[in-house]
């Protein structure tokens, strides 16, 4: 273990100023990185995780199934649904072919539906995994499972593990930031909670309405100058107390008040996108002052520029049990352009190579129909499907233009290269330079891991 050698020296100097911002972490960083040598080379420095809450239909976006289209409205063969639970539908539903056309994109010929014209333009950047599978079939447990490797809550999320594992790069912003468009998923804040890890690793929600970070603004009538005077006086008193009691926590406390003060400037600066060029705003379809997924994508890039390690975007209303033919195009319209813009924008700024983008959801949707009469040309809706769904990764150490994993002719099951949620999480950690088997935390008598006792890195999609 490397010993912070100048602890004593710092403590004596604490009255001089607050220039040494990294000292807070030296003093108080219990992070895994601080306590152990890392032996994996990181491929990504940042992660932007795009979670479409509710589960988009992979069969209408990424996983083309001509057989399903051919046999549209035929009853589903019973052997296909045998030993399988669905959340809502019975096992006697009809097969539901996608009403949308698929085509090949990019040099790699990635297959995507007509709902994703913009994403098609960056197809060569994506590693599309069509063989994800999960263990939970209801939203909240599946969301918890995806983010914490455990479907019952109370465990740290991926972001918390990463922040614990790597610490924070930026000293004026949290290392782990969450942006929402629409209400959060059923799992609520547990998707970005620290579980049993210390609360400093929690995801901090930056909000579009009110204070961007809770309690960021000074109370009415209390100016920045007032606050500065308050903090200076506070520091004087805390320093005296530090000298008298020798309590190192006080030194950290002084630093944290200074960081809070800096956040009061840095966070609003970050959230204000008015300084972006018209071209950039148009690229994303973002509008200053208007909360949207597009704005959040742009904010994600700004957060990456500022060194924030992990950024999660949650977009709601993807749970299309019915009216999928109107709702899915609407959601795609809201998200397709901004996501493609994010990839393009990161790339032209040379940030994509250091930034891993993950797109996906807690599970996918069934190849059999929910609702409808089983006679119409189109489809009414699709139920939850945990046994085979699609996610994609891009940037930060990921091979572009890759298709990984295959499902059967119906898209019901995986036939090649299955990727369990634990495998995905192991891969994300790997790309960040963290060995998922070694990133452990001892709690209530057990060494916990994000991947429990499972997980294999998906080597084939790595650069």
């Amino acid at each position: 273990m490397t010993q912070p050698m100048d602890r004593r020296g710092f403590l004596n100097d604490v009255g001089i100023g607050f220039g040494g911002v990294a000292l807070a972490s030296i003093l108080n960083d219990e992070s895994f990185a601080a306590a152990s040598n890392q032996n994996l080379a990181p491929r990504a420095k940042h992660v932007i995780y795009l979670h479409m809450i509710g589960a988009p239909s992979q069969l209408d976006l990424f996983d083309e199934k001509p057989e399903l289209v051919k046999r549209h409205n035929e009853p589903c063969p019973p052997e296909v649904t045998k030993d399988r639970d669905f959340a809502f539908i019975g096992k006697t539903s009809t097969l539901a072919g996608s009403p949308w056309k698929f085509s090949k994109h990019g040099e790699s010929g990635q297959s995507m539906s007509s709902l994703l014209p913009h994403l098609g333009e960056v197809a060569d950047e994506l590693a599309v995994i069509r063989s994800l599978h999960s263990e939970e079939i209801n939203h909240a447990p599946a969301q918890m499972f995806l983010h914490s490797g455990y479907g019952r809550g109370g465990r740290p999320s991926l972001g918390a593990w990463v922040t614990y594992g790597l610490g924070s790069e930026n000293k004026e912003l949290p290392g782990y930031v969450v942006l929402l468009s629409g209400p959060p998923g059923g799992a609520g804040t547990s998707m970005w909670s620290t579980g049993f890890l210390p609360s400093k690793y929690q995801g901090i929600q930056f909000r579009a309405d009110g204070d961007p970070v809770l309690f960021l603004s000074n109370p009415d009538g209390h100016s920045t100058d007032d606050r500065r005077r308050v903090l200076d006086t506070l520091a004087t008193i805390n320093q005296r107390q530090l000298k008298v009691t020798g309590d190192r926590e006080i030194a950290t406390r002084i630093q944290q008040y200074e960081m809070a003060y800096r956040m009061q400037t840095s966070v609003p600066d970050l959230m204000n996108i008015e300084g972006e060029t018209t071209e950039t705003l148009q690229l994303y379809g973002a509008q200053p002052g208007k909360a949207s997924f597009a704005n959040n994508c742009l904010l994600a890039r700004r957060l990456v520029e500022r060194g924030v390690r992990l950024i999660e975007l949650y977009d709601s209303d993807w749970d299309h049990h019915g009216s999928i033919e109107t709702k899915l195009p609407k959601k795609c319209k809201e998200t397709d352009q901004p996501i493609a813009a994010l990839i393009k924008d990161l790339k032209r700024r040379d940030l994509l190579k250091d930034t891993l983008i993950v797109w996906g959801s807690e599970f996918g949707r069934t190849p059999i129909q929910q609702g409808g009469d089983g006679k119409s040309k189109g489809i009414a809706g699709r139920d939850h499907h945990k046994d085979a769904f699609t996610m994609w990764l891009a940037g930060g150490g990921v091979k572009g233009g890759v298709s990984y994993g295959q499902t059967d002719d119906f898209g019901m099951d995986i036939v090649e290269n299955g990727v369990h949620v634990h495998d995905l999480n192991a891969t994300i950690l790997h790309l960040l330079g963290l060995d998922h088997e070694k990133l452990t935390y001892r709690y209530q008598g057990r060494e916990f891991r994000l991947t429990d006792v499972h997980g294999n890195v998906i080597r084939d999609i790595l650069r």
């Binding site: 809502f88 209801n138 909240a140 901090i204 970070v213 000074n218 209530q444």
Partner: protein, 1067 residues
């Protein structure tokens, strides 16, 4: 120890280049073999290797050993437990990572890991001493061995690594029941106040340390207040103690504090963390649940100092006690705190199984200090618990009913249910009123039942007469229009062949009244029908005239008059007619909030409209109150008022009179069909349908229903509060071992039973009650230790066993084993009294030491495990809030009842899964009640608590983390709760020291926050701030009054005071 690479080593040695080999050989003469190996691994870089060597030498270097230190090591007692704890998980009976097994003599000694007599040649030691994070460091999982443990292994190997064939390996310490230890000598030491101090002093002496001086009286009384009631003392209380800081005085203060009602509130908090108590279900349908009576039960039980064994039994199995009281049943809310997944589509049995598993794991953590959950899928890797034992334990909890079930076969109908008990009402008046209402309700139900019987009996006769009515189906008769008049100046109209009237003209008036004169001589007119048609000539095809897109009309009033007077007079404009009364109206369709019934009431705010169904024809029938029989041709005048504006008027319509039975028109098809059948052909379904139809028409039944609903609503408003309880099924469920922990794969069936390593369960019942009694049996080696250790941790920041949640093999051994056992034995012998035990601890000299530390002490023992100083901890989330509110004089000490809703920013309780959750801030001082009462929604907990390490309470939490973050600073500086506390403190100080100088006021405020007087530096800093603020420009007002400047300045001072580290630290 996991040794992956041992197989590869010989290979690597063979691969060495000659050059390296010769250097290595030279080195071998001076260094041992383990370094040699290190060198091979790093052979690419000799320099790096040499640096490493130096480091390893430094670490390995043992000081010259004194004869005492060279004392013989006892393998069974000293060595084996170390190997068991740190190695057997991967190199034991169940797993042999890298082919290595260390739990058996032959395997271990043949492994090549241990070179008897040559510790420095032993690979085992080399691995143990590698730096953390190194690829080969051992143990691969878990903490490195302590220096002391390594030294023991070294001495054992040096002495020849003796491994007796026969040995008695002691059980792990925590599985052997504690005995009262003999006290170490030293009672005569003046410092010692309690046996606790003897144990502590003994250990300090061993380390060559001395205790810290006693804390100042100010700090001591504050510490005791915060620890016992969670609130700070007032300056008066401080002064009184400072005047006489004797042992007798502090004892009487402690005695008084543990009697305060706030004691239970302060100590309920950690217990509720264990109980994962919350006010909502968790998961997507995170609805609120009523279980707060359980929270109140905990507070009351702690205040009553309920013996811990009883406290346990009532919570685990209060419902199963003979003649269980209400309070004992409420106590079982402990396990009803388990989160429950009631998301649409969730499977009830899965949800139930998860809850039962949660109960098992929580019980293991709370009463046994053991992580049982590992055994869900496989035998515990290091602690002596098997999977089968896990499911035997689970069987105790497997016999309660489903707590989430589907109301129908629809997956979305899953609901939270399970036993909920009405709380007895402390208000006798309400109780009386409720029983009165219930009696009325019962009476009405009887009346209704007899009425229904009556209706069912006469069904055949009724059907016969109704059949006649139905046969008399209504007929419409288009009325001859004599004249039509509208108010539009450019309008004209056409009489079309079907008898309808079409309005013509491109400029319809905003509002209109159509007047129609018709002639008819019909008999038996029941009502009039208005047909509204579309027409291509109308904007967008009509039927409205106003807008080609919004083709609506609003018929604000439909009226009819019977003209009896001379037609000539009528022509002159005097209708003089008799207005016909309508009883009801029906229509093909009515727009929401624009029901056709509104069209025969006068007034422009009601009327008939048809949005969004613009593409259909529509009709409305207005039913007369009395049948109209005309004797001769008579003129009827109709007025169609359309007063909404924007030409929302009808473009084409037809009026008809309706004869025959209108009721027949409304008879549903299935009834009409059944009525046509002879009685003996009725199917049971017909009969049921007819009965229901008849009941639906029956005015008497309707009246009963209305009164019943009314009474039920009244009762609902008076309903007593409820709480969740455990109720045992009469028929126990079968329990089985789940393969890989999957409830859908039950294997071998099991009976309830407790783990074999622990004390046996007496014969007799094997239900939850038996389990509860077993948990608190005096033979249980764990429960008293685990419990006192948690309380110790609450006072000192960490337990004597620092892994308070894990007393198993992997847990830390106690820092003061004898002290722990002494406390455990004391606790049980004093009748499991928590208050007695806390009193013993806080009256010890150990607890009463000053909490300041020195650099030397910090270097030696930064976590204060040796207890050479007093405790110094940041308060936990709830206490920080309570403390600030108390300082500000805002705190409302009202106890008990439903949760409170303090201020939180908008939008925290977001809409989830289609359900939105209202957050209404509690009125008045309710929002300033203690943190233990703050509503806890698992999916979105109170943010300022989360920022101070409050947990979401999704699972049992034994130990919260204690972090130090910028969000904490922002919370204390800007959360409106703390802003208000600061303002209130500023007001309070100036009110309490009205005639004091600024200096006196600041001193007073400082003492409110910290219990002590400020030093000169501190006072000067605060006074300086105050003066600077007075001089500063105001942000809001150009020329602020001197009063508001003073308020601002004081607010700044109070903010500093509330944000001082000392203010929210127990020191």
């Amino acid at each position: 120890m996991r040794m992956h690479h041992q197989q590869e080593k010989p290979q690597k040695q063979r691969d060495l280049t000659g050059k390296t080999r010769s250097i290595a050989k030279a080195l071998l003469n001076i260094i041992n073999r383990s370094f040699h190996r290190r060198l091979f691994n790093a052979s690419q870089s000799l320099i790096a290797c040499l640096v490493t060597l130096v480091l390893v030498v430094a670490v390995n270097a043992e000081p010259p050993q004194s004869p005492a230190r060279m004392a013989k090591v006892d393998f069974a007692k000293d060595v084996f437990p170390i190997l068991r704890r740190s190695c057997f998980e991967c190199h034991g009976e169940k797993e042999q990572e890298g082919g290595l097994r260390l739990d058996q003599k032959a395997d271990a000694l043949d492994s090549g890991m241990i070179e008897p007599g040559s510790p420095n040649d032993s690979e085992l030691l080399r691995r143990l001493l590698l730096p953390r994070g190194h690829d080969e460091v051992m143990p691969a999982i878990g903490d490195p061995l302590s220096k002391k443990q390594v030294a023991i292994l070294r001495r054992w190997i040096a002495a020849g690594a003796a491994w007796p064939d026969e040995m008695q390996v002691a059980s792990h310490w925590s599985y052997v029941a504690p005995q009262r230890p003999s006290l170490p000598p030293g009672m005569s030491e003046p410092w010692v106040k309690s046996p606790i101090d003897q144990f502590v002093l003994d250990r300090l002496k061993e380390e060559g340390l001395t205790p810290s001086p006693a804390a100042s009286p100010e700090k001591l009384i504050r510490r005791v207040y915060l620890d016992l009631i969670g609130l700070p003392p007032t300056p008066k209380e401080v002064m009184r103690f400072v005047a006489d800081p004797s042992d007798e005085r502090i004892e009487s203060i402690v005695d008084e504090l543990v009697q305060r009602p706030q004691f239970g509130e302060r100590w309920a908090r950690p217990w509720l963390d264990l109980a994962r108590y919350a006010d909502s279900h968790g998961f997507q349908r995170d609805d609120l649940r009523d279980n707060w009576a359980y929270r109140d039960w905990v507070i009351q039980a702690l205040n009553d100092d309920m013996p811990f064994d009883q406290f346990t039994i009532e919570q685990i199995a209060g419902d199963l006690l003979p003649e269980a009281t209400e309070s004992q049943k409420i106590a079982t809310g402990f396990h009803r705190c388990a989160p429950t997944n009631v998301e649409a589509g969730a499977l009830p049995e899965e949800t139930r199984t998860e809850q039962v598993i949660d109960r098992v794991n929580t019980t293991g953590a709370v009463w046994l200090g053991t992580t049982l959950e590992c055994c869900q899928c496989h035998d515990h890797k290091y602690d002596p618990f098997s999977t089968k034992e896990y499911y035997q334990f689970l069987a105790f909890y497997n016999n309660t009913e489903l707590e989430a079930d589907r109301a129908s076969n629809k997956p979305s109908s899953i609901k939270f249910q399970g036993p909920s008990m009405e709380l007895s009402d402390p208000n006798p008046e309400l109780k009386a009123k409720r029983s009165d209402l219930k009696a009325q309700l019962a009476e009405l139900e009887i009346k209704k039942t007899s009425r229904l019987g009556l209706l069912a009996k006469g069904l055949e006769a009724w059907a016969a007469s109704t059949a006649l009515v139905v046969a008399d189906a209504p007929k419409t008769h288009t009325l001859d229009v004599v004249s039509f008049d509208s108010q539009g100046s450019t309008d004209s109209f056409e009489n079309l062949d079907d008898g309808s009237i079409l309005l013509v003209g491109g400029d319809p008036p905003d509002k209109d009244v159509y007047t129609l004169r018709t002639l008819t001589a019909l008999k038996g007119i029941q009502g009039f029908r208005l047909d509204v048609f579309r027409d291509d000539s109308l904007p967008g095809g009509g039927p409205g005239r106003g807008d080609p897109k919004r083709r609506n009309f609003v018929l604000t009033e439909f009226s009819a008059e019977l003209c009896k007077t001379d037609p000539e007079i009528i022509k002159a404009g005097n209708s003089g007619g008799e207005k016909l009364q309508f009883a009801s109206a029906t229509a093909s369709f009515s727009q929401r909030n624009w029901d056709v019934a509104g069209a025969f009431e006068s007034g422009v705010k009601t009327g008939w409209a048809i949005s969004p169904k613009f593409d259909d024809s529509h009709w409305a029938t207005f039913v007369l109150s009395e049948t109209l029989d005309l004797q001769e041709e008579t003129e009827l005048v109709f007025k169609l008022r359309q007063q909404w504006g924007q030409s929302r008027t009808i473009g084409r319509f037809r009026l008809s009179a309706v004869t025959g039975n209108l009721v027949a028109d409304s008879v549903p098809k299935n009834i009409a069909v059944a009525l046509k059948k002879p009685v003996d052909r009725w199917s049971p379904k017909d009969r049921r349908a007819l009965t229901n139809y008849r009941v639906g028409l029956d005015a008497t039944t309707k009246q009963f229903d209305k009164r019943i609903t009314d009474l039920q609503n009244q009762l609902k408003r008076l309903v007593p509060d409820t709480t969740l309880v455990m109720v045992e099924l009469t028929e126990p469920r079968m329990s089985a071992v789940f393969a890989r922990g999957d409830y859908q794969q039950p294997g071998e069936t099991v009976q309830p039973g407790t783990p074999a390593i622990l004390h046996p369960m007496p014969p007799g019942d094997s239900n939850r009650l038996a389990l509860a009694k077993w948990l608190v049996s005096p033979e249980n080696p764990l429960v008293a230790r685990v419990t006192v250790n948690r309380w110790w941790a609450e006072l000192f920041g960490q337990g004597l066993v620092t892994t308070a949640e894990d007393f198993g093999l992997k847990g830390e051994p106690p820092t003061h084993p004898k002290l722990l056992d002494w406390l455990a034995v004391e606790f049980v012998e004093n009748g499991w009294s928590m208050k007695q035990l806390l009193k013993t601890i806080v009256l010890s000299a150990t607890y009463q030491q000053s909490s300041s530390t020195s650099d030397e002490l910090h270097e030696l023992d930064d976590r204060n495990q040796l207890l050479a100083r007093g405790p110094r901890l940041r308060m936990d989330a709830e206490m920080i809030r309570d403390n600030a509110l108390a300082i500000g004089g805002l705190l409302d000490l009202k106890q008990f009842g439903p949760p409170i809703y303090p201020f939180q920013p908008d939008g925290i309780w977001k809409k989830i899964g289609g359900i939105s959750y209202q957050y209404k801030i509690s009125p008045g001082s309710e929002q300033y009640r203690r943190g233990v009462y703050v509503v806890h929604k698992r999916g979105s907990p109170y943010p300022s608590f989360v920022n101070f390490d409050g947990t979401a309470r999704f699972a049992c939490t034994v130990k919260r983390s204690r972090t130090n973050t910028p969000l904490q600073a922002l919370t204390l500086l800007n959360d409106p709760v703390y802003v208000e506390a600061a303002k209130s403190l500023a007001r309070r100080v100036r009110a309490e020291k009205k005639n004091g100088t600024l200096e006196e006021q600041i001193d007073h405020a400082f003492q409110i926050c910290t219990a002590r007087r400020p030093t000169k530096t501190e006072r000067d800093a605060l006074m300086g701030l105050y003066r600077q603020q007075l001089k500063a420009d105001s942000q809001d007002e150009p020329q602020p009054s001197s009063q508001s400047k003073k308020d601002d300045a004081w607010y700044c001072v109070a903010t500093v005071l509330l944000n001082m580290h000392e203010t929210f630290t127990k020191d």
